[in-house]
């Protein structure tokens, strides 16, 4: 137990760098990037040490990895049972998450040294990155569900700050506002969910809550299932609301609208926040409370179907987008959909807990290959100075390292063995095969579509027509592939992408903490891989040559293509709801009330005060003799009162 106190340094180091850069940044100048990176390097090494000690140390009781509370400080005590604690909980998923978060954050810090070079607000950028890293680590290590919520909001704030980093651009400002409002809306659900769970569970401590609400005989469980609201048990409500919070952060359909717009932020930020770490917070949240979720099949099937819908819709939309970062954003949403439905189909223990493990495994591998994809996209954008696919093409000769890394990442996400994505995706599909064939079918189709759009991206960027000389920037000498600090993270991540799938993940992270034997079944893997390869070939045929074949097919699809390229009009629907329904029927009357009644009261009060004092201001004439007269009158009045009337 005592051996883990140092883990508190893992979130604290980024906090210290944040304060350092935030307060003294102006004196640090260029060196701030180095400071941030060095601090994070220390945190990364510590988290590796933690993982090593945790997974290979002595706390393997009966073959189960015990949750360890490394540090706990009771912060706000509401009642003997109910308190908000700040602490650090180590269990397989949190250890896995700190490794992922610190590692990816380190890569992004490193990459940003080159990518953000010469940026005016370089120091601010690193300060925000440190803030984000701190919040994310605090989130994954939380012992208390309210601590989760606080860091959840901090993560949202730092995401908002980083999306709006280029605040001179109107679109970036709009995107940051959109991200903040949409996720905040979802977080409202999360907060209510927390309050319900805390009220019925009598505790905010995650371990206590899980213990009480999974025991069907406990009074808390009986109370929360017996109470009902609109005919649905309160437990279902609470979990649904918590899931809404998670879905908002993880950009699940229909709360996904903010994620594509969030690509307005700097590309390394997208790699860190909107691909590898923050967006999987929803998945992590469900995993954290998974024992409770598994008590309620209704919510689990909601999780499943939201995940499936997100995976499919996002994949289809991704095929039609032309902004490479948006393609990647939809791809992220689709992959998170996979993780979600995998959890939704899972059970808590044994073989049936495969889905949980698969979800975490996919989270793990996805972090590597998706951040790699984003960083490659960042390198490409750095080179081309454009996000648009049509400005690119034929870059494979010009950017060999980026090309190789991007290809590896694409193969990984397409699920081609032996790259990382293959293993995790196989586990997910296996879960679906065991539990629900319909979901399996959609999963298979989505996986194929994933391979298609990723290779559409790949061929459009690196093959297609030769690099257009009419692009915005003429090819000059300064256009090299990028500095060493930009290439190094790509190579490291590419190696991880190759290797991550070989990690015996099921030994470490499972639903019940017991190692799980996974059976590799070559026959089962044939259909998905085959489909992916076919999809890749189709993509190659359509996009490799850069001629009009793809456009013809798109024209042939007509309305379907148009709907997909317009993202199925979800944004328009939201706009319609807000502008045509909420504003005129709720916003305007509220504004009228505010302006006329609330302000009217205040103004009236001020008016009365002003007119009263105006009426009696002649009393203060400034003439000494008036004052002596008043004084005399006062004394005389008091004398009369006390002598004659007060007997």
């Amino acid at each position: 137990m005592a051996g883990y106190t140092y883990v508190i340094l893992v979130p604290l180091i980024p906090l210290v760098t944040f304060l350092l850069l935030g307060l003294f940044g102006r004196y640090l100048g260029r060196s701030s990037g180095m400071i941030g990176t060095a601090g994070l390097l220390a945190a990364t090494l510590l988290s590796f040490l933690t993982a090593f000690q945790y997974f290979f140390g002595a706390n393997h009781v009966n073959g189960v990895y015990e949750p360890i509370s490394a540090f706990k400080h009771t912060w706000l005590q509401f009642s003997p049972g109910l308190s908000i604690d700040m602490g650090i909980m180590l269990d397989p998923i949190s250890v896995m998450m700190i490794v992922v978060v610190t590692f990816i954050a380190l890569m992004v810090h490193l990459f940003s040294l080159g990518y953000m070079k010469g940026e005016e607000r370089f120091t601010t950028y690193y300060a925000f990155l440190s803030l984000f890293t701190f919040s994310m680590l605090g989130l994954v290590l939380s012992v208390n569900i309210f601590q989760v919520y606080m860091f959840w909001e901090l993560v949202g704030v730092s995401s908002y700050l980083l999306i709006g980093f280029y605040f001179q651009k109107a679109s970036a400002v709009a995107a940051s506002k959109k991200a903040f409002i949409v996720t905040r809306f979802a977080d409202f659900g999360f907060l209510i969910g927390i309050l319900i769970l805390g009220f019925y569970g009598g505790s905010l401590d995650i371990a206590t809550l899980v213990e009480r609400l999974t025991n069907t005989a406990s009074p808390e469980f009986i109370a929360i299932t017996a109470a009902s609201f609109f005919g649905i048990s309160v437990l279902t409500w609470a979990l649904t609301l918590v899931f809404i919070g998670g879905a908002g952060k993880s950009a699940m359909f229909p709360l996904h609208v903010w994620l594509p717009d969030a690509m307005e932020g700097p590309t390394p930020v997208s790699a860190l926040i909107h691909a590898a770490t923050m967006v999987v917070a929803g998945v992590y949240l469900v995993a954290r409370l998974f024992p409770i979720f598994s008590m309620n099949s209704a919510v689990l099937s909601l999780v499943t179907w939201v995940g499936v819908a997100s995976a499919l819709i996002a994949a289809i939309i991704a095929c039609t987008q032309t902004d490479i970062k948006r393609v990647l954003a939809y791809s992220t949403m689709s992959q998170i959909g996979f993780m979600m439905f995998s959890q939704g189909l899972s059970k808590t223990s044994g073989e049936d807990g495969l889905g949980y493990m698969a979800s975490m495994f996919h989270l793990f591998t996805h972090a590597f290959f998706k951040s790699l994809l984003f960083l490659c996209a960042g390198a490409v954008i750095h080179y081309v100075h454009s996000n648009e696919m049509r400005d690119m093409g034929g870059l494979r000769k010009l950017m060999p390292v980026t090309h190789a890394c991007f290809l590896i990442a694409c193969l990984a996400i397409a699920g081609i063995p032996p790259f990382a994505g293959f293993f995790s995706k196989e586990e997910i599909l296996l879960t679906a095969w065991n539990e629900n064939l319909f979901v399996y079918g959609i999963g298979l189709f989505t996986a194929a579509v994933t391979a298609f759009y990723m290779f559409r991206l790949y061929f459009s960027i690196f093959w297609s027509q030769p690099f257009p000389t009419h692009a915005k920037q003429p090819a000059t000498a300064h256009q090299q592939e990028g500095s060493l600090t930009m290439q190094l993270p790509l190579v490291i991540l590419a190696l991880c992408t190759i290797a991550a799938g070989l990690v015996p993940f099921s030994k470490f992270v499972t639903a019940d903490g017991r190692p799980l034997e996974t059976h590799f079944n070559p026959l089962f893997s044939v259909p998905p891989v085959l489909l992916s390869i076919i999809a890749i070939l189709v993509a190659a045929e359509l996009f490799k040559h850069g001629d009009g074949r793809a456009a013809n097919i798109a024209a042939g699809l007509g309305l379907v293509y148009k709907a997909a390229s317009k993202k199925f009009y979800v944004d328009e629907l939201y706009l319609f709801v807000t502008k045509k329904i909420i504003f005129p029927f709720a916003g305007r009357p509220a504004a009228w009330f505010d302006r006329n009644v609330v302000d009217g009261c205040i103004n009236g009060l001020a008016y009365i005060t002003a007119s009263t004092s105006n009426a009696i201001r002649w009393v203060q004439s400034g003439r000494l003799q008036h004052y002596t007269l008043y004084f005399f009158g006062g004394i005389a009045g008091l004398a009369i009162i006390f002598i004659y009337l007060w007997k």
Partner: protein, 104 residues
């Protein structure tokens, strides 16, 4: 000595007090107001001495109070005149009406 009743002495002091009061109300020149103020203080002194002599002849407290009041009156007059001179320097007048800035 005691053939004049105390109330007659008090009549003089009370009348003097209200004469001073009247001067304080009506005078516009600050020096004359200061004079009226001196009358007020003197009427109080008469009271103290008279009460001491008529009611508590065995003690000297009234006398001491008178002495202290005279001392303080001297200090007060000096400060008041310093203020008046300063005011005259800035306003070129010691009319109380011209120093009426301290208002709403």
């Amino acid at each position: 000595m005691y053939d004049v009743p105390l109330s007659h002495v008090l009549f003089v002091s009370t009348a003097l007090f209200f004469i001073g009061m009247y001067g304080l109300f009506t005078r516009r020149n600050m020096i004359t107001m200061l004079m009226a103020l001196e009358l007020l203080l003197n009427s109080v002194n008469i009271n103290f001495i008279a009460f001491n002599k008529y009611l508590y002849p065995g003690k000297l407290d009234g006398v001491f109070f008178t002495i202290f009041i005279i001392t303080i009156a001297a200090a007060e007059a000096a400060v008041a005149i310093a203020i008046i001179i300063n005011l005259y320097r800035s306003h070129k007048s010691i009319d109380i009406e011209s120093a009426a800035e301290l208002k709403f």
